[in-house]
């Protein structure tokens, strides 16, 4: 395997790793959401909206 092939392989592994990491986090979150009451879900949504706002601000700092 030459260096370019190794780079491609590493990129693929990285992508797969990142995708799995995100998909798993979302899967666990969905399990939690499904078990929530309506009130808990509303509070959860308010919190997620705040997180979104913070992330949109953080986007400008990259």
């Amino acid at each position: 395997m030459n260096e370019k092939q190794a780079q491609v392989l590493l990129n693929l592994i990285t992508l797969g790793n990142a995708m799995l990491d995100t998909a798993l986090k979302v899967k666990f979150a969905v399990d939690k959401i499904e078990a929530m009451s309506d009130e808990e879900c509303d509070r959860y949504n308010e919190n997620q909206n705040l997180i979104s706002d913070e992330l949109m601000k953080e986007l400008d700092t990259i």
Binding site: L10, T14, L15, A18, A29, Q48, I51
Partner: protein
């Protein structure tokens, strides 16, 4: 995970194009991979999509910060606006869910159309940057 991305060799070779592909694919996962999505209440749908969106943006920010300055400048110019548009588009989609007497089929069509628009935007910018 973060240690994995801190590998200097990986950091050097992790290309911008892959970042774009990553956010496009995660967006697909977020909008399409939840098997119970169509049977959820609107509040739970919102929670699911918002959580996935936040995770996607978190992942994007963490990885973008590892890129060299010239790449980060391109990301700020070309990809950040797409993500901000997508954030607004999510709200727009969920506003449509609360319309009284809204037809479920129309909502689904709207959701699919929105997903396609977002993916087209991601691909458009992804291809443009990859071609640079």
């Amino acid at each position: 995970m973060s240690n994995f991305f801190m590998n200097p060799f990986l950091k050097k070779t992790y290309s911008l194009r892959n970042l774009i592909i990553l956010i496009s694919i995660i967006f697909l996962l977020m909008l399409g991979a939840c098997s119970h999505f169509q049977t959820m209440t609107p509040a739970k749908k919102y929670a699911t999509v918002r959580t996935a969106f936040n995770e996607m943006v978190r992942q994007y920010i963490d990885q973008a910060k590892l890129q060299p300055e010239d790449v980060r400048a391109k990301l700020r110019e070309n990809v950040n606006p797409v993500i901000k548009d997508a954030e607004k588009a999510l709200d727009k989609y969920f506003e449509s869910l609360t319309l009284p007497g809204d037809d479920p089929d129309a909502r689904l069509a709207y959701y699919l159309d929105l997903k396609n628009q977002i993916l087209k935007l991601c691909l458009k910018y992804g291809l443009k940057i990859a071609a640079d």
